[in-house]
């Protein structure tokens, strides 16, 4: 079972994502943005960071990387893909997920331990959580405010595609407190907070993030 983690120029949490995959029991494989070959991985994580310095728009340049062509194709065939933070932005720019992420409403970078509710535990990345499971994981972003038009938001909610929602105070101005969403098929998930920072008590506030990585192991085995 191999989980690939893409490194774009400016990726920052790629090492953390590989560690989280390994802690969950997978073999972590480093993928390079310029290499379209996925090297036989069963699932892919697009990690956090400031790929290409967020120039133009966050995720806008990475979307055109050679590796993304293959990932977009494989995602269409059902391969699990998780985009965390900047990875979520790349997924939106790639149109694998609807909507966009804009600057936090308070205009500051924010790093905090954020309570969330997992509202959809039927995706490839969330099956190990209970329905409406409340977890606390790290949130850190500059452009973390999820926005989409009303019709899209209604559809996401109507189809149960809101994967996670912020609890307590909305930390970045995201519409309808949305922290993460999925595609129709449930194999592609975009999440603004960082589960990869919450896999061991020594270095993270909780181990609540591990479920994302153990879930995908089961999803791959089941397929």
């Amino acid at each position: 079972m191999k989980i690939g983690v893409v490194t774009f120029p400016g990726s920052l949490d790629d090492v953390d994502a590989r560690r989280a995959a390994a802690v969950a029991g997978a073999e972590a494989v480093a993928l390079w943005h310029g290499d379209a070959d996925l090297h036989g991985v069963d699932a892919v994580v697009l990690p956090g960071g400031f790929s290409y310095g967020d120039y133009l728009r966050a995720g806008a340049i990475s979307r055109f990387a050679p590796v993304m062509e293959t990932i977009i194709k494989k995602a269409g065939e059902g391969m699990p893909v998780l985009g965390i933070c900047n990875g979520f932005q790349v997924l939106c720019e790639s149109h694998l997920l609807p909507g966009a992420l804009i600057k936090n409403h308070h205009r500051k970078f924010i790093c905090k331990d954020q309570p969330l509710r997992i509202e959809n535990n039927r995706t490839a990345w969330t099956s190990d959580y209970d329905a409406n499971h409340e977890i606390t994981i790290v949130l850190k972003n500059q452009d973390g405010s999820y926005v989409a038009d009303e019709a899209t938001l209604d559809r996401l909610e109507g189809e149960g595609r809101v994967v996670a929602r912020y609890l307590d105070e909305n930390p970045n101005g995201s519409y309808r407190d949305i922290a993460g969403i999925t595609n129709e098929r449930g194999n592609v998930v975009g999440l603004m907070p960082h589960p990869e920072h919450c896999v061991e008590t020594l270095t993270g506030p909780t181990t609540d993030g591990l479920g994302f990585f153990t879930s995908v192991l089961k999803a791959v085995v089941a397929s």
């Binding site: 953390d16 310095g53 970078f109 924010i110």
Partner: protein, 757 residues
Amino acid sequence: MSPESHADTVSNATNTPEVEQPWAELGLKPDEYQRIRDILDRRPTSCELAMYSVMWSEHCSYKSSKVHLKRFGEIPQETPTGKMLAGIGENAGVIDIGEGYAVTFKVESHNHPSYVEPYQGAATGVGGIVRDIIAMGARPVAVMDPLRFGPLDAPDTKRVLPGIVSGVGGYGNSLGLPNIGGEVVFDPTYLGNPLVNALCIGVMRHEDLHLANATGVGNQMILYGAKTGGDGIGGVSVLASETFAEGGPTKRPAVQVGDPFMEKLLIECTLELFAANVVEGIQDLGGGGLSCATSELASAGDGGMRVSLDKVPLRDASLSPEEILMSESQERMMACVTPENVEAFLKICAKWDVQADVIGEVTDTGRLEIDWHGERVVDVLPETVAHEGPVYNRPYARPDWQDALQADGAEKLPRASSGAELRDTLLRLVASPNLCDKSWVTDQYDRYVLGNSVLSQPEDSGMIRVDETSGLGVAVSTDCNGRFAKLDPYTGAKLALAESYRNVATTGARPAAVTDCLNFGSPEDSGVMWQFTEAIRGLVDGCIELGIPVTGGNVSFYNQTGETPILPTPVVGVLGVIDDVTRRTPIGFTAEMEGHQLYLLGETEEELSGSEWANVIHGHLGGRPPAVDLEAEKQLADILINASRDGLIDAAHDVSDGGVAQTLVESALRGGVGARVWAPDGLDPFLFLFAESAGRAVVAVPRTEEVRFTDMCTARRFPHAKIGVITGDTLDVQDQFEVPLTELRTAWTATLPSVLN
């Protein structure tokens, strides 16, 4: 007309000795300019003048501090964990931490640029120190930022602080480096002169250590990273070495502009170059730009160097050769590479989309020769530029106001006595700018990235896991109480060292080495110079007593606006080593610790001068700072480290600004559980709560370990007193007052947001 036709060549300089040169505008004094003429036996070319002016500036040459900094060499160059692998004079000091690992760390100032342009000044401060760490061969693993501002409610603080914090975060977050500590301090003397110090920690294997020299005739000099632009020209000489005059012209163009994305590429690219073993010597381009890199690399090497300045890739094609030599454009490095490795070097740079150009080579002439379109514009002995600048033995004298200041102790000021008064004092202190919650600042920094942050602010020190298998780690704290240093700079510097040392030991790590950032006013003021020499004397004596060396650091002078210098601020960073980070000791009282016994280690004296109580309640600064006993600090550290290793304590927090009261409040709010406490026998409740005697810590001992713990303290004859128990959701000072944690939290957290949001 092509630009080269204007070049002031060496032969032109020889033939036109009478040409008037703008040495004064470049910050040189008349005798310094004459000295350059004497060295060269002719007038300098305009390029040479640019180089000398940059490299002989206070910032680059340490001309006012050199004679005093030499004293750090008197400290034995050994750490408790092993030998020092590189010391003062290198880009950053390196120490052995065992298991084949070495750690490098250094703190530097970026004060003046951050006042002129807060965001870019602070951002490039982070960028500069990170490049120093990479240049040693290490992977940067964390940053910390000690910051100091004018009064919180001053209008200019509202301009400067958000920009600086956002710059520190914007750059460090984009590099993927966790920010794990630092300080945020307010004092009126920093108004108009904020202090932005930046510290970086790097980790490498012993064999990866690289030094800054250019050796081996025929080896190629490669400039790589960002293109050179017009930003930061004269930044060093004009900005860092002059006092801001009231109403003077704005100096914005001299501040550099940072691109953290390029720096991130530079980090990964450089580490891959090291791994491929294609680098002979390396130096980052910081203050002084190419002038500094070429002259320092050449003078540290065994030959000379020839550089073609027209091969430097430019962002702005109209730059003159003088400007290219002085430009402080960020995110650039210079490496010395053997001819057979050049292709491999350039290939790795191409993989990371990093521009790299061969601009020169190592020669056997012993001279630094720089050409501009085939014409020689610089021909100097590199050491005359890099190391033989002027050295000043500036006059220093104890200021005549020092006696009166020391005679005006805070111990005579009226104190709270009833329970209600003590409660009110506590709440006022907790909400004061220096003691309040700093999350408004630290929440703008990524403390989690890289996944090795074991402790970060507001813990006593930041702690990073170095090896995931063995658990080997390092802890770093930075501290300085400038108020103490004003009252007595010798003792104040020792107290800064003691506090930083204690903060490292409190988390369970053994202190091993020191870096310092010495922030002072104008060295041309004999009183300031006396403060500086006294602080160095304190640090040298202190390091010898504690048995830890100074591995490097930085001096920042001219921190004053008009006649008023800042508080003398010798910021001390101590790095410690911990064998197993799972044994770290945090500060918080948590639910699992309910019922744990609280002990106060160390003696509490009637020491209130320079305290936060005197500052907040009386607006008073006078008297003598708390006494410092470094032998006792060593004993305390041993107890804290052994107790951590043996599992005798579950929480520990040092006692410093604000006294035991602040220590208890921070521990309770951190873990969410309160405490019932009492003053030990014979100690006045007010002094128990608010005195700032050094050498103390509060520890939480499980009942099952209480006998072993107290036996250990008794065996070492170290003062220890039971002062309470962890329990409930209030801070209950028996027979005096009780405050709910919710009330404390509201007071503690409201201060910064209420002013800055």
